[in-house]
Symmetry: C3
């Protein structure tokens, strides 16, 4: 499995999280609220309020997730960053597979 | 060292975090509040408020941590997901070892 | 690219995040608020309010980031923990490079 980070405008986070889980692309999505983000855009320093999504997926589903997020996300270049998982409790992994359509092929 | 994610019911997060640090299984636990989680359980889409724990442990302590969380956590299948760490400042790592019982064997 | 975790006293988080982005060491920093941290210091169990930074950098910039944080951070031993990234959407990676001074050498 993997954990994927994605930041969203506050008013879009729930819609995206819910759709990722309903469509079974993600087993679980946690929404972290009241996040303040600093970054450059068009050469200017920006500071926005966002919500951070922690998305739990099967090991080989990054492309499917990416495609789904790009359909749903309002930003031109959303952040979709997959973190490496080195260990997970077996029962949780079984549940993740059952929630998303079966074992990693 | 490793960073481990675990989500908890809001009223259990502090008790679990404190016990993990007091028992020296974890060097540090951060509790992220007001997290909204979407997931399926028994075929139904669920949406709960949780708190996310960021748990810092020695590199080889996942099994000990898992056992401890399974004793403390009220959920049948808690999420215990270990993220791979590729770098850490040396002084912090020294402190982590001193806080948990010594170097990675 | 990499994602780096760093915890800060609440009143220092924005200053550090802004400086990391303005100096182009980081492409983006997310600040997670109202974090409660348990840890030992000088043998005593401590519980402090902090803010957690999620710092996005190029793959080889950990040393530069570490040096910068050590200059800015008030704690003796700040947590600077780099998480391994296994995948990222290409457009976001291009933007990250443009925001920080070009491709990973």
């Amino acid at each position: 499995m993997k954990v994927v980070l994605c930041n969203c405008p506050p008013d879009k986070a729930e819609e995206i999280a819910k759709e990722l889980v309903e469509s079974r692309v993600a087993a679980c999505v946690n929404i972290l609220p009241h996040v303040k983000s600093f970054y450059h855009w068009d050469g200017k320093l920006c500071c926005d309020e966002e919500k951070t999504l922690l998305i739990k997926i099967r090991g080989h589903d990054f492309r499917v997730l990416q495609q789904k997020i790009l359909q749903l996300h309002p930003n031109d270049v959303p952040e979709i960053v997959e973190l490496n998982v080195s260990n997970v409790n077996a029962e949780y992994l079984k549940w993740l597979y059952a929630s998303t359509g079966g074992e990693d092929a």
